[in-house]
Symmetry: C2
Subunit: 343 residues, 2 copies
């Protein structure tokens, strides 16, 4: 076993600009040593998620920013290699917010042990995606805000992403017509041909009015549920197409991240919400921890029956994380973005 | 009895500009004659409400526009003077969408008979206000969207208006801290000294940042329920002060009416909704007709026990309607705006 631990520190805050690789600093540190009550975790997969962009900023959000010089935050799935805590043993499969690093010494109470049997034949990386935070986001946001009904029309932005692809498939299982919006022909081909979405719309090269017309052509009765991961132009276009009593899930604002700290100026939708008696609500998956068991059991069953499919975009080695994260923010990923830290 | 009927027709649409008196044309028409199945109604009070501004515009809304040359739409309380329908007799007290006119011949099924005994000592004009559409708006919007809880902070815009004064008093009955926003010192004195609101804030002369600071000073833990009748700057300022899991009722957009047809450009709140997991929902009272009996009984009880007070701003004679309506849109009214058509 190596005696070194490679990890990424936050070197600079990208306030009001795009993230650069030099915002992160690769450091080779000594292997951490668990104290009493701690475990040593070896990361297998690191999850890269849009919310991390918010943590890089000093702006107040639903979580504290990452400190400059601290290890970048992130969730991993991995194995216990050393335990100084009761109830956890070497070889145990666990989830933890261990950050962008190969090893971490963590308090036992901050890791979640997962029974391998729960997974069946499903890959452990799914615990960071369709069986983890992104899958739960799709599941609970639809269950608690979107409430899709049979024959309703559901629009999903970032449709091929970690959350979007699951949200669209759940809506299909509920009997809805599902339209995906994404920024590349192959992403749209994927969601319509592989995942069963009814239509796909490319937002690239369209202003809000053009995109609204493209949505109207696919949703002549309007959008009943809008699962929005992006904000910006796609949001505007969807808001021009609301059905009566529409529900709009504000799940992400990825298109606005590079403007953090600057005001988001654009079309306001008060009148549209009023006329359509529509509901718009912000969603954070952390509010639904109490129902996590229900979610994971349901999603594992859907996956094992082939009713939900899931695509991952995996890069190898911790050193690949910054570039992959930058790609995620600009949409070059194809599915849930992961770093294989160790195989 | 006169044989003439004075009424106001819509003469011009005020698209993208303020309403002028010349947008309405006073016409003296022959007394209408009820056909079989109809009644002749004599208006006692005509209600003037912000929603009428929307009906003057050709823009699509939740109701059809008033046609050019047609009688302006509006709800009245009045008495049957002639009946050619079973179940309605001369002298009966009724509510009807009879429009801006002294008399109307209407199908019996389009009028709502009200038992005078239901009112007790309360004036019949209350049927157009606290016991009618504005009161029901406050009641149902809080009941179905705002859901104010004891010790929460509730912000009400247009606080001294027909809806706002009731909304704030209901929130007080629910045990909330209530802050009213209005545009005149005497309106704020009224809601704080007469109606029991905890604080009043004058929006005039403040930009959104200044108004946000004034709200923050009165609501250090943030706004839990925002009852918004106005949109615009007050909306922006409130959105800068949301508490976690805030509920925002989009009840009116009166500050934007003169820009109808032009896009409403300004600060967008997607990120704020996300971070605060807040809910924003458009409200229309017509969606709650099935619960009208419950509302009127509860509100009459509150009024009779003195737990809710209500101020009206009454002008005399149908000819006063246009100027009073223009005043309502610019906030010169003091309480629920009514025209006493006949005493």
């Amino acid at each position: 076993m190596t005696t070194l631990n490679r990890r990424f520190l936050l070197a600079e805050r990208p306030e009001g600009r795009a993230v650069k690789e030099s915002d992160f600093k690769l450091e080779t540190a000594p292997m951490p040593t668990p104290e009493e009550g701690q475990v040593l975790l070896r990361a297998r997969y690191l999850s890269l998620d849009p919310y991390m962009r918010g943590r890089m900023s000093a702006a107040r959000s639903y979580a504290l920013p990452v400190e400059l010089g601290a290890v970048m935050t992130g969730e991993v799935v991995g194995e216990i290699v050393q335990s100084r805590a009761a109830g956890l043993a070497p070889g145990d499969l666990v989830l933890a917010h261990a950050g962008w690093q190969e090893y971490a010494a963590l308090p036992a109470k901050s890791v979640e042990r997962v029974e391998r049997a729960q997974l069946g034949d499903l890959p452990i990386s799914y615990l960071l995606g369709v069986l983890g935070m992104p899958g739960a986001t799709a599941y609970f946001a639809l269950d608690t805000i979107g409430k899709p009904q049979p024959r309703e029309t559901v629009l999903v932005s970032a449709a091929a992403g970690a959350v979007g692809q699951v949200a669209g498939q759940i809506a299909k299982l509920k009997g809805c017509r599902v339209i995906g919006v994404a920024g590349a022909a192959d992403k749209l081909a994927y969601v319509t041909q592989q995942l069963g979405f009814d239509a796909g719309i490319d937002y690239k090269g369209k202003d809000a009015t053009e995109l609204a017309a493209a949505i109207a052509a696919q949703a002549p009765s309007g959008i009943d549920v809008f699962f929005d991961n992006v904000a910006g132009v796609t949001h505007d276009a969807a808001m021009m197409n609301l059905a009566l009593h529409a529900r709009i899930i504000i799940c992400g604002v990825i298109s606005t991240y590079d403007r953090a700290g600057q005001p988001d100026i654009g079309l306001r939708w008060n009148r549209q919400l009023l006329v359509k008696r529509a509901l718009m609500q912000g969603f954070l998956v952390g509010d639904h921890r109490a129902r996590w068991g229900e979610f994971r059991a349901q999603m594992a069953a859907w996956l094992q029956r082939g009713q939900i499919r899931y695509r991952e975009d995996i890069v190898d080695g911790i050193e690949a994380a910054p570039r992959a994260f930058i790609g995620l923010l600009s949409g070059t990923n194809r599915g849930k973005m992961l770093v294989r830290v160790a195989s």
